[in-house]
Symmetry: C2
């Protein structure tokens, strides 16, 4: 059996290249985790996800507890077998989606009661139940249940929300059943307030987790506030544990967050953009629906090894999106995930060579539009 | 260069096993052609289509002339390169879709004028233009433009419609530019009237084509009328040429039509059914949306080698369709095309062994519901 651990291979400033050891295999960090909300990375077979180089995917506890239900997944042998993903799976706690339900949910000190957005059925999510669900799913990395603090929030609101999350984090730690190669991560909260982030980081460290996530970001605070928050959190987390920035982000966000000590990321951006016709490329973002691609025989990204780029023209992708053919989202999701994985490999190699800053500058320059706020995203 | 030809390998009653030789490779017959309407077999990459064993796909001239346009496809190197399909491509003439436009089209002796169902743009399709478009697409097998006779039709209507199609067939023969390994097929019409089918078959044979299709069927006439029509057509077509039953059909239709001398088929059934949750299996048709699959760990079809069957449970497929996840249509289309290809291989092997009747009986018995009108289709 493999003990869950993260080992550093190289550092470059605050950036780290490392290796996660888990019950479901190793994975190199920094790592980007494609989002497989309901037991499927949208528009992709598991083989296709693997072919992009991904070694870990994220599953959403909220969606899976509603459909097909955690007990059903367990009865079918767990999420790995269900979705044909023997590699690593990280599941979120369900908290983020439940908190987003607005009037459909009621928060109390013990947990949250909510109605399904699908059929109104009432559910109860507590720290203990969230941990149990993730155990039933057989998640490699379980996330503690937290309250994702609304944004913007006053210092007082953010403080009481963070303190609730810290109490729940301790309950999650108690509820989690240790298994060789499995992990439980805590989540730093505190909105954009540095003092709260520092306190939250210290509180989690005191409880002791196998890894630490920075949560409550990518909710509208902007990239500079996000980076400042990382700088107020990361230094207060144990250097020997992996760090995960939840729900982030654009390619530019990834470059900046790795430079600030983050090892793990998840985001719907590459998959969602792929379904709507936007391609992340080494030269910037292309909107494949744009008429200028209609007769363009060039590939989306000449340097890319994905099937969309090696087998097809921009004109073909344009055609597929114009005709609402499913193959458009399939190929473009495939491409975008390949781009993200390739970017992460590039970042890791740069760290190993001690040249992350130069690599990031080169990547940003190639996008050709780094005067825009989110060069990796805006077409 | 390969001369286009069809060679018989074995016969079993009227059924034939053969080999098509073309500019884009050989293909074994009897053969089922997945439908790739707009330059893509819906929900499938070209690699996925190939993995089912398919060697030839069908493209729709009507859809491709509207989007992206035949000249655009030609400018991009032809349909093979456009859709990553170096194998055989058969294109229909556009006639069937245009005739279905109702008030949007006007038929005259020279051709048909119609408005696009997409944006109302006016187009003109003549025998010469249909042949030109298919040439621009670089279709391996070009179909003559015909009038697909409405159903039901009186004998008089069917006769004048068939005679128009025969005049157009002669014009297509003249317009078609012979190229090594490329083919032009004529299309038998005459509705359900045996005398008209016989006359049409003879008229086409006199013009001389590289293959012969039976058209105007699968339009509501029922299986027995369809089989009677085949018996009134096939004997009057040259035995040395391939025969193609257009737009057919259920697995049971394929068994019956091969036994009546048909070599080639196309149908949207496996792909369309796959997108709506219906699975063709060796044990009959399953509707994956049915709640009884919700916790079923068994594969869709235990004997099937497709990714849906080798990697996933019925419960997973059920879950995907319940959640409207794109992977449901992807996997089930993959499965259904695999089933159709596997059925055609079984049929061919049975012909080679002189046991088609016994094979067909075994296949039908395994469906377990052969008292229904279309055992291969109805769940």
């Amino acid at each position: 059996m493999t003990h869950f651990s993260w080992t550093a291979v190289a550092t470059d400033g605050a950036a780290r290249a490392g290796l996660l050891h888990t019950a479901h295999g190793p994975v190199e960090t920094p790592v980007f985790m494609p989002v497989g909300t309901a037991g499927t990375v949208k528009a992709m077979t598991a083989d296709a996800v693997r072919s992009t180089g991904a070694g870990i995917v994220l599953g959403n506890t909220y969606h899976l507890m509603l459909r097909p239900g955690a007990e059903t997944v367990a009865g079918l042998g767990g999420l790995h077998r269900f979705m044909d993903w023997p590699g690593l799976i990280l599941t979120d706690s369900g908290g983020f989606q439940v908190m987003s339900l607005g009037k459909l949910r009621t928060l109390d000190a013990e947990g949250v009661t909510f109605r399904s957005h699908l059929d109104g059925t009432q559910y109860r999510l507590t720290p203990e139940r969230s941990i149990e669900i993730q155990h039933l799913l057989d998640s490699t990395i379980t996330m503690a249940l937290d309250e994702c603090t609304k944004f913007p929030a006053t210092h007082e609101e953010a403080e009481s929300s963070m303190e609730l999350s810290m109490r729940w984090a301790a309950r999650c730690r108690t509820a989690f059943q240790p298994r060789e190669g499995y992990a439980l991560f805590g989540i730093v909260q505190g909105s954009v307030f540095s003092d709260l982030r520092e306190r939250s980081s210290a509180a989690l460290t005191k409880i002791g987790f196998d890894g630490y996530a920075v949560g409550g970001l990518a909710v509208g605070e902007g990239q500079s506030a996000m980076f400042e928050t990382l700088e107020a959190s990361v230094p207060f987390l144990p250097a020997v544990k992996p760090r995960y920035l939840m729900g982030v982000g654009t390619p530019d966000d990834l470059l900046g967050a790795v430079a600030r000590g983050i090892d793990m990321f998840d985001c719907v951006m590459p998959t969602r953009a792929g379904r709507t016709g936007r391609a992340f490329t080494s030269l910037g973002v292309l909107n494949m629906r744009n008429a200028r691609h209609a007769t363009d025989a060039a590939p989306i990204d000449p340097g890319c090894a994905c099937p969309a780029c090696t087998k097809h023209s921009r004109a073909y992708l344009h055609h597929l999106f114009r005709c609402d053919e499913m193959l458009g989202p399939i190929l473009l999701t495939w491409h975008n995930l390949t781009y993200y994985q390739s970017l992460m490999r590039g970042i890791r190699t740069a760290i190993l060579e001690g040249g992350l800053a130069a690599y990031a500058a080169d990547v940003r320059a190639a996008w050709g539009n780094h005067d825009k706020p989110n060069p990796g995203l805006v077409p």
